[in-house]
Amino acid sequence: MTAHHLERPLPSESVAAAFLADQNERVTDLVQSHHHFIWRLLRRLGVRESNVDDAAQQVFCVAARRLGDIAPGSERSFLFGTALRVAADSERAHHRHEQLTEALDDNAGSFPSPEEALEARRRRELLDEVLSALPLELRTVLVLFELEQLGKREIAELLAIPEGTAMSRLRRARLEFKACAKRILLRAAHGKVSP
């Protein structure tokens, strides 16, 4: 890798170069550190599978444009907030109960048999249905606690609410999830019964 130097870079050019290089590094750190988390979050909050990649890109592009506003250390909060907004917008824009296409995913190889892979896929779809039946506020704490397995303090920080509020929200979320799951699983079981 060779380096090329301008004949006589102006001081402002070198500052600008360093500034841009710094931006680039921050963006790289941002994406590498948080991409998976944000992608999973968007997926689990209900963004349609085919749109998750784009939604994640959107989140990071917003962050990249507003790097100056993101204090070092608060990257995840910022990304989280942006992801929530993107998920909420996506919910408004699209129908919630869409059948997932049987896309060949990376996970297909993790199952010993195609039957098990199919079963896992079906369960995942049911989970999507149950989650989508929850209001976003409850869905969010549930996803963070049950699926991301964050602690109550982390959740409270991310949502900028007191821990007590986070816990009572989680309690309501569990109850709501149970009610919706019962209904949806029952419907699914009845659907399997042959006439």
């Binding site: 001081p11 600008a16 994406v31 990249a64 993790s110 699926l147």
Partner: protein, 248 residues
């Protein structure tokens, strides 16, 4: 009346199984690199528009330069900017001059082969998933390099070598980013001592120092310095960054 973890309603096995189905949620392999590329160009677009026109646009033609960046591909643009602070030179080298007509004239600009730089500018760029080193070397390059190497050696000594400045500040930046404010401040002091008042990146160093002070808890001092900087340099690209600092 707050809920404790042990007061939460228990999950049944079936519900647990349902929740467990999400364990395999994972982005496809291409998602991260694509997001990185998109976010990087977004940052550059924002950065390009924020910097003083003269600094990067070789006469003020911001949009032409960005269009050029798009044509070259974002990653090459990053390399060029990070290393050379200007795209005109890179265009001549990477594309054999075919885009030269789109580049505004910038006086006598020569392409040089500097001595191999082991400093971070190269490292920083190649750390990105879309590594610049993977780019194919341009066809016409061997000849021009040989021709200019003699001249290059003679004049390299006379050129300000930014690579060392960038390396020095890089250390401070990394320390700051991982919360090691004392290390960051020490690195910045070393930079000031070594490169002096006329250091090429003294503004960047100054801003880093303010951020380090803020992060280490010396809020009053950091705020005072930040305010003074903003007052004295209202058009600086660092103003936004410092304002965010002051707002916290």
């Amino acid at each position: 009346m707050t809920d404790q973890l042990d007061q939460l309603p228990e999950w049944t096995d079936e519900e647990r199984q349902l929740l467990a189905s999400a364990a395999l949620d994972r982005p496809p392999r291409t998602a991260l690199p694509r997001t990185l590329q998109a976010a990087t160009s977004a940052a550059i677009a924002a950065g390009t528009l924020a910097t003083p026109a003269a600094a990067l646009t070789l006469g003020g033609k911001t949009s032409a330069l960005f269009g050029l960046a798009k044509q070259l591909g974002v990653v090459k643009w990053l390399a060029l900017v990070a290393l050379a602070g200007g795209a005109a030179v890179g265009v001549k080298t990477w594309r054999g001059g075919q885009d030269a007509s789109r580049v505004p004239a910038h006086g006598p600009v020569t392409v040089r082969q500097a001595e191999p730089v082991s400093a971070p500018p190269a490292a920083r760029v190649t750390e990105a998933p879309l590594a610049v080193s993977a780019e194919p070397s341009p066809a016409p390059s061997p000849a021009p390099r040989r021709a200019t190497s003699a001249r290059a050696e003679a004049s390299v000594a006379a050129q300000p070598d930014l690579s060392r400045d960038i390396a020095a500040l890089d250390e401070a930046r990394r320390a700051l980013r991982s919360g090691r404010t004392r290390d960051a401040l020490a690195a910045l002091e070393r930079y000031d001592a070594e490169f002096g008042k006329n250091a090429a990146l003294r503004v960047e160093a100054h801003v880093l120092r303010i951020e380090a002070l803020a992060r280490s808890g010396e809020t009053a001092r950091a705020q005072a310095l930040a305010q003074k900087f903003i007052q004295q340099n209202p058009k600086s690209p660092y103003v936004e960054r410092l304002r965010a600092l002051l707002a916290r």
